[in-house]
């Protein structure tokens, strides 16, 4: 009798727990929703007031004169991100291929923790390294202020390496060993196997890693502020200073008020939309990879 009652209580608890966990499990989704609501809620009205077009393609950013053209920052973010991809993708993919296919177990045991460490270093430290080493180097080699598109691209290129490497390694490792063995058995060299079998088989994961790396590059703030020079004008060369969407927010958030602050939130909206699109694309590609594997 007593045990039966105890059993009932436990079952009821179990049901309660299930509901409680369901609520908790929606925390991440709710946070995402709340963030969306607040960023869009703060940023969208001013975009409607001045018109989307003047925000997106206006070239003048003079908040005190109520000129809120974000075009230089959008172009700046695109340039810097493309530069980062040009540097980060070949390095990252090479590292991933070496880690999974070429390196001995011992070498892998050294490289892998090093790469993970790279992911943990705070972005301000990267920015600082840019300021004390990279920027003077660029200034001496090419002239100009050194604070430039090039400096930002190089720093970001290094910063996205861990993202690209870890996800590419995962997807290369997920290729069934039989693919590898089959290719080698047909007389292909290791490189031919990598080029013609493994990379195509892991394609979706590799693409996802590149897109996520792109997202990181666009979203990075502190390191970019420190090395990019931050002039709110479309850069005309690799050595010209540049301001990205993220730096635009961080530089002026400290003192902005009224419409100026709203315009910064509008910058946030544009950034947010770009990131969500990239995330969704990466998500879809990555899940397609899982789909074909099964």
């Amino acid at each position: 009798m007593a045990t039966a009652r105890r059993g009932n209580r436990l079952e009821r608890n179990d049901r309660l727990v299930r509901w409680a966990l369901l609520v908790v499990a929606f925390s991440a989704v709710s946070v995402l929703l709340v963030i969306t609501v607040f960023i869009v809620g703060q940023g969208a009205p001013i975009m409607f007031r001045y018109g989307f077009k003047s925000f997106l393609v206006g070239t003048d950013w003079y908040p005190s004169e109520k000129l809120f053209g974000l075009w230089p920052m959008i172009v700046g973010s695109v340039y810097v991100t493309l530069g980062a991809m040009i540097i980060g993708v070949p390095l990252g993919l090479s590292c991933a291929v070496v880690l999974t296919e070429f390196a001995s177990k011992r070498v892998r045991g050294v490289i892998k923790p090093v790469v993970e460490l790279l992911a943990g270093i705070p972005s301000v430290v990267y920015g600082f390294m840019g300021v004390v080493i990279l920027v003077p180097l660029i200034r001496r080699a090419f002239g100009g202020p050194g604070l430039s598109v090039l400096a930002a691209a190089i720093i970001l290129g290094i910063m996205i390496l861990p993202t690209i490497i870890s996800i590419s390694v995962d997807s290369l490792q997920a290729v069934p060993p039989s693919f590898r063995e089959g290719s080698i058995a047909l007389g292909a060299t290791k490189w031919q196997t990598v080029k013609m079998v493994l990379v195509p088989a892991a394609r979706s994961g590799i693409i996802a890693s590149i897109i996520l790396g792109m997202g990181r590059a666009i979203g990075e703030t502190m390191a970019v502020i420190m090395v990019a020079g931050n002039a709110a004008a479309v850069p005309n060369s690799l050595l010209a200073p540049v301001r990205t969407l993220t730096s635009n927010i961080a530089l002026e958030m400290g003192y902005a008020a009224g419409e100026h602050r709203q315009a910064l939130f509008a910058t946030g909206v544009i950034l947010f939309v770009i990131i969500m699109v990239l995330n969704t694309v990466a998500n879809v590609t990555a899940s397609r990879m899982k789909g074909t594997r099964r």
């Binding site: 436990l10 079952e11 179990d14 727990v17 409680a20 908790v24 499990a25 925390s27 991440a28 989704v29 946070v31 995402l32 963030i35 607040f38 960023i39 070949p90 090479s94 590292c95 291929v97 070496v98 070429f102 490289i111 090093v114 790469v115 460490l117 943990g120 270093i121 705070p122 972005s123 301000v124 430290v125 990267y126 920015g127 600082f128 080493i133 290094i158 490497i165 060299t189 490189w191 080029k195 996520l212 997202g215 666009i218 979203g219 990075e220 703030t221 502190m222 420190m226 993220t246 961080a250 958030m253 400290g254 910064l264 946030g268 950034l271 947010f272 990131i275 995330n279 990466a282 998500n283």
Partner: protein, 279 residues
């Protein structure tokens, strides 16, 4: 078209790949060594235990260490139950389906959101709308949201790797689902879950953009949840950007890098133990 000798191609490709890999490793080693070499001389017991004087031009970094620890602890207190709970729900209470997909998509999107967006959001919701001001509370909550996806993902992996037999045996002994989860699954997955928490500590320590707009940059020792504080990263950023004191900036950078090294070593150690246990 002339065919390239596959073996020559292999040699060239291998050389290029190894060069790039070596370059990557060299960059990292260089960063660590550079920061430590410049920063270690600035470190001393008094640097760690004295408060910053004159905006950080002189004195130590004690209050920023306290600020970092308090903010990180606050973030963990909020994010750990939510993250681990989500992971338990995803692995133990549901099997695929649209609800899981929505939750997972939400977590993955959250992971991709840049820290500056978290900073904007925390500023508008916690600092202004809820009137917490620039405070430890605002900063901790913002950080908690930021590290939530990391905790969810690592806990999920950890719980998934607990062998199904453990659960079957527990059920066959007559325990309920919740008993199985709390007494069998979570304890077995604990090292993996702790790894995720340590990784999040690393992220919180290094974060700047999300913290500077929510916790502010006061140099005093915090006295309550509502006092503003400055973390080491923010302090370092301000020192370096405004050129206040290079030796102090390098010193702070060295502490940051040492902290991250420690976090990584600990993670690595725990991970290896965890993997050994189940393979």
């Amino acid at each position: 078209m002339r065919r390239i000798d596959p073996r020559a191609e292999q040699a060239v490709a291998g050389a290029v790949l190894w060069t790039f890999t070596a370059l990557t490793v060299a960059v990292l080693v260089f960063i660590i060594l550079f920061v430590l070499r410049k920063g270690l001389p600035a470190l001393s017991w008094s640097f760690l235990t004295r408060n910053p004087v004159d905006m950080g031009k002189a004195g130590g970094i004690f209050s920023t260490i306290v600020g970092t620890l308090v903010l990180t602890a606050g973030a963990l207190v909020v994010a750990t139950p939510l993250g681990v709970g989500t992971a338990i729900y995803l692995t133990e209470y549901t099997w695929g389906g649209p609800v899981t997909r929505v939750i997972r998509f939400g977590a993955e999107c959250l992971a991709g959101i840049p820290s500056i967006i978290f900073g904007l959001f925390g500023f508008i919701l916690f600092v202004t709308k809820l009137k917490f001001g620039w405070s430890i509370l605002s900063g901790s909550l913002t950080l908690a949201f930021m590290i939530l996806p990391t905790i969810i993902r690592t806990s999920e992996e950890a719980i998934k790797s607990v062998p199904p037999v453990y659960r079957t045996v527990s059920f066959s002994l007559g325990s309920t689902k919740w008993q199985t989860v709390t007494r069998v699954v979570v304890p077995s997955a604990l090292p993996g879950i702790v790894t995720g928490i340590i990784l999040s500590i690393g992220r919180s320590i290094g974060e700047t953009a999300a913290v500077i707009f929510t916790a502010g940059s006061a140099l005093r020792l915090p006295t309550s949840l509502f006092s503003s504080t400055r973390t080491m990263s923010v302090h370092f950023y301000i020192l370096a950007r405004e050129g206040l004191s290079m030796p102090n900036a390098y010193g702070t950078a060295a502490i940051l890098v040492i902290a991250i090294l420690g976090v990584n070593l600990l993670t690595y150690y725990l991970m290896n133990r965890f993997i050994k246990k189940y393979s």
